[in-house]
Subunit: 234 residues, 2 copies
């Protein structure tokens, strides 16, 4: 964790924060938030930058404000598994384990609001509710991880792809259903998220297209044509 840029508009930055209601800092009242926000530093990442790397200690806790972050693990021979996709409002890192045993990398342009863990702990002495809030986010992540265990352990390739597309659609709920959205991941990343190979992912995409359940165009823009059918597959 280097080069965290100082932030000089602390006082009202949370008010303009796009993930104000989603982030773990949401639990704080406006007075506490003002104090807390003074501790934060925001950092922007280009596509594919390493945010955390394995074995690094838990010096910072982050909150994603823009973009997507992939959390992944590696085996010795290079096999990779994405264990989580972080979307705006999601928490990054943890304040408990000294060993942060994953890699975190930006997917596209990303911004993360960081807090030093030591400062969170001091802050918590007078504002213990922050722990409850971090607990909420962690429990949520645990739920997602377990959902994915079911997917990786028991779903077929086609079911995995369908589930993945619905997950993405879920994060575009703001826009109308049947709205086109950009697939943020490359085929290799999708494969690493679903426990498949590039080729299998590609084939099942083609398959869903030929069945007219989805449509893809202009690079990576995707429309889910038949939500219902996709949900039945997943």
């Amino acid at each position: 964790m280097n080069n965290i840029t100082s932030n000089h508009y602390n006082l009202d930055k949370c008010n303009s924060c796009p993930v104000r209601e989603l982030s773990f800092c949401n639990a704080l009242d406006s007075h506490a938030l003002e104090e807390f926000s003074a501790l934060s530093k925001t950092r922007a990442f280009e596509d594919g930058q390493l945010i955390f790397s394995e074995g690094k200690n838990n010096e910072y806790l982050g909150s994603i404000t823009h973009g997507i972050v992939k959390i992944y693990k590696l085996l010795d021979d290079g096999r990779q598994q994405i264990v989580s996709l972080g979307f705006p409002g999601d928490m990054l890192g943890n304040i408990v384990d000294a060993e942060y045993n994953y890699f975190a990398e930006s997917v596209g342009e990303t911004k993360v609001c960081f807090y030093q863990v030591a400062r969170i702990n001091s802050f918590a002495e007078s504002n213990p509710e922050i722990y409850r809030s971090i607990l909420g986010k962690t429990t949520e992540q645990l739920g997602h991880a377990r959902e994915w265990l079911l997917l990786l352990g028991r779903k077929t390739a086609q079911e995995k792809i369908a589930s993945f597309l619905l997950l993405l659609a879920e994060h575009h709920k703001g826009s109308s259903p049947d709205q086109a959205f950009k697939i943020p991941l490359k085929r290799q990343e999708i494969a690493d998220f679903l426990g498949l190979t590039i080729e299998t992912v590609s084939r099942h995409f083609s398959n869903l297209k030929s069945k007219q359940l989805i449509r893809e165009y202009a690079g990576h823009m995707l429309t889910i044509v038949d939500h219902e059918a996709l949900r039945n597959i997943a």
Copy 2:
């Protein structure tokens, strides 16, 4: 959650608790612990009893004191995935999500120390450190879940079996290495934990036996003969 038996020896029960140092209640000092322990009720389970079922609300938080609990999810067609094995000291349930989206079932004879979530929340008003402690346990579970995501997504059957055996051995560290221990799960449960079928599990067990890496006898007693080789496989 029915039939929670009242516990009439509250005052010093935590002192005799076998998971005193492992459980989330560990964070409390002896005064707070005495107050907290009065809120707990212990319940015993036979093999294969349902402890939580999907969709039930988060009324209770538990701490496993004896035995093993499997947490699993189901697909509509009956496919099952064990998403976690709870050992003594592990936490059961959560205090955040209203929907507890898993099944929990005892594996062998099991005892669980339960707390009503509402009571934990009241208690936390004067002892907020309990949230920090629950957060610690939840973060630990998240770490295990993600380790398993790597296993399910990217490891071969043989690697899965080896990893599983080492996980079990890990929980018998108290006894000397190369010590025999009982495999607590049936083949079907192992399969549901590793995302495999019974037959594949059985074949790879046979394979490891024929290679003299493990030995199995008297039903389900297992000795790991060659830890090193097993670790290389995993």
